[in-house]
């Protein structure tokens, strides 16, 4: 009754029920608002606005790239398995401009060359060697300073003959400069200050300035990587044994495998493989 003090000593269950009703009210409110504004089951009052914003943000290039990737998965027919990729920030700086499939000039071996990006970083093949600098090749993992392996590609699964599955998905062979007892990693990740600075300002640079900066990035890089036989040979650049490769894998890498195909048989199968 008006004027009478309100009863406040309700049991707790009343407050609980009240709370539940509030949640339901909010849910219904959200539901009805959605049905009226954006849902395709309602008048869609705000759908034209939504479409307008989407049209403004639409990128023909992005759409085409996605469409092409999807198309390729079907064209390829063989089922695709995604393998883990490093987050953008942990990838080497090369990936600011280049992709996992950077080789395209030599049509006969470009896919094979691209395959190598799974096992080592770009610099392993493209580093400029200098007489005054000693280069050591080690496994590099952006998340682990001293990766212990086993590493992907170093051994076979005895039962299937395929490369053995390993836990470490991110380690790759990378070059290190040796200064006395110290080893200095020859690559930089995208979260390195210089790389981040470049990414921040690259749109503000003139084409000439951008070219200059890129050249600075490539100061220790040679355009043409090593020949196959530089690594795929006994006493090659990479010491497979030290890098933890299994004996039968080393034999394949050094003698029998793909390199054998592209060099030993070169005379009678593919005489001009490396000529272009």
């Amino acid at each position: 009754m008006p004027g009478e003090p309100k009863r406040l000593d309700h049991p707790k269950s009343v407050y609980v029920i009240g709370f539940i009703f509030k949640i339901i009210t909010i849910a219904v409110l959200i539901g009805v608002t959605y049905q009226i504004t954006f849902s395709h089951h309602g008048p869609g009052l705000l759908i034209p606005v939504q479409k307008k914003i989407e049209a403004q943000q639409k990128s023909a290039i992005l759409e085409e790239v996605r469409r092409q990737e999807e198309y390729e998965k079907h064209r390829h027919f063989h089922n695709i398995v995604d393998y883990p990729a490093l987050p953008e920030s942990s990838r080497p700086v090369c990936y600011i401009c280049h992709s996992d499939y950077p080789h395209s000039k030599n049509k006969k071996v470009r896919a094979l060359l691209n395959m190598h990006t799974q096992f080592f970083v770009c610099e392993t093949c493209h580093i400029e060697e200098r007489e005054d600098t000693d280069i050591v090749y080690k496994w590099y993992n952006p998340f682990n300073e001293n990766p212990a392996g086993p590493f992907f590609g170093t051994s076979y699964n005895q039962e299937t003959g395929n490369l053995a599955e390993v836990e470490d998905q991110f380690s790759k062979i990378a070059p290190y400069f040796r200064y006395g007892d110290n080893l200095d990693l020859a690559i930089k990740a995208q979260d390195a200050p210089l790389a981040m600075d470049y990414m921040n300002v690259r749109d503000k640079l003139t084409p000439e300035q951008r070219d200059n900066v890129k050249k600075k990035f490539h100061v220790n890089i040679k355009a043409k990587g090593h020949e196959c036989k530089a690594c795929h040979a006994k006493e090659g650049i990479l010491n497979f044994k030290k890098l933890g490769f299994a004996i039968n894998r080393i034999v394949d890498l050094e003698q029998l495998n793909i390199k054998g195909m592209v060099t030993k048989y070169e005379k009678f199968y593919i005489p001009k493989l490396f000529s272009d």
Partner: protein, 353 residues
């Protein structure tokens, strides 16, 4: 010594063959399909390139997955017939209709997917019209790989209950007569996979959605609905999203029982399963709603919330939205305000003077 060299030269081929046989026999696994040793290169996931037109091309073949697919017995050259040497030139597009080396056991002829082409040519997805003239937008019509990727085995066990997987107990019965495990597993996988669908309803809907949810294709072909979208709005579609395998997918309704899935006919074709005279047979079939009346099938399966396409559904749904909001919101609002007053009995909104 000279004679020995001459003998060696003469028999070099025999020696190579002998060494090869030794090597192959000591290989840890037998690659059924990889006689050409294609996996020497193609086993690496990174073997891909971006070609001169900027198109991504993938060349990786996962052997474990391939060996678990229906094509496991077909060697690489069986489909990639133009590859005769290694390394090879860019491979030509695979023609799924060629005859491969496998023998079809019922006719003992070479196996081919050519029949699928015949059925497709007589279906609504044909590139030609009834008179044999090319249809408008014929390029939109699906070819093999638009719908199919390499199908994987989905074996079923029927031992005590039906479940996915291989029943070891059943295999034991196979082994009574058949000796080779490789044959037994393949045969078991093949047969039990074929006893049900190799894809779940959601996967099938996704395949059809590539075209039938594409607004441009829908508009170009003057289709009345984005079919997979409207399917997704039904109970069937919602259950498919929860990976329910018992509910009907596109093929269950649009293909006549016992016919090839490639022979999908237009709604206005009297032979079509979705023709108005045949529609009730779909819903009332033994596996779905056997006790339903023919009227059960008269509802619009592909109704969209669209004034033009389905005005009745549109206004009906709209009425229920208003009814729900109009009833519940004021009621809940009053309870809400009451709760606030009970929680804060002395709260006052002070007015500015």
């Amino acid at each position: 010594m000279k004679y020995a060299r001459q003998v060696l030269r003469k028999h070099v081929n025999i020696i190579i063959v002998f060494i090869s046989i030794l090597l192959f026999n000591f290989t840890p696994a037998v690659f059924a399909a990889d006689i050409g040793n294609c996996l020497l290169c193609h086993k690496y996931p990174g073997i891909s390139r971006v070609d001169e037109n900027g198109d991504l091309r993938l060349f990786y073949v996962n052997e474990d997955i391939f060996n678990n697919s229906v094509h496991a017995k077909v060697n690489c050259e069986g489909c990639h017939t133009d590859i005769k040497k290694v390394p090879h030139d860019p491979a030509k597009k695979v023609d799924c209709l060629i005859e491969c080396h496998i023998t079809e056991p019922s006719t003992e002829t070479k196996f081919s997917h050519k029949d699928a082409e015949f059925f497709l040519a007589n279906s609504v997805h044909s590139t030609k019209d009834k008179d044999g003239n090319p249809k408008q937008f014929a390029e939109d019509m699906p070819t093999c790989k638009n719908c199919h990727d390499n199908p994987l085995y989905r074996p079923l066990s029927f031992f005590k209950k039906v479940r996915y997987g291989v029943s070891e107990a059943s295999l034991g019965r196979c082994r009574v007569c058949h000796k080779k495990d490789e044959f037994i597993y393949r045969f078991y996988n093949h047969v039990t996979t074929r006893l049900h669908k190799s894809r779940n309803p959601l996967n099938i809907a996704e395949v059809c959605a590539r075209c039938h949810n594409n607004p441009e294709i829908v508009a170009r072909h003057n289709l009345s609905t984005k079919a997979v979208y409207s399917y997704g709005e039904t109970f069937h579609g919602k259950a498919a999203r929860f990976l329910d395998e018992r509910i009907p997918d596109c093929l269950d309704c649009h293909v006549r029982k016992g016919e090839s899935v490639h022979q999908m006919l237009a709604n206005d074709n009297p032979l079509s399963s979705t023709h108005k005279d045949n529609r009730s047979k779909i819903c009332t079939n033994m596996d779905c709603h056997p006790s339903a009346t023919p009227k059960f099938a008269t509802y619009s399966v592909h109704a969209e919330f669209n004034k033009t396409q389905s005005p009745v559904q549109y206004y009906f749904t709209f009425f229920f939205i208003v009814l729900t909001g109009g009833t519940l919101l004021p009621l809940m609002g009053i309870i809400f305000l009451d709760c606030i007053r009970r929680l804060f009995p002395h709260a006052v909104i002070k007015r500015r003077k």
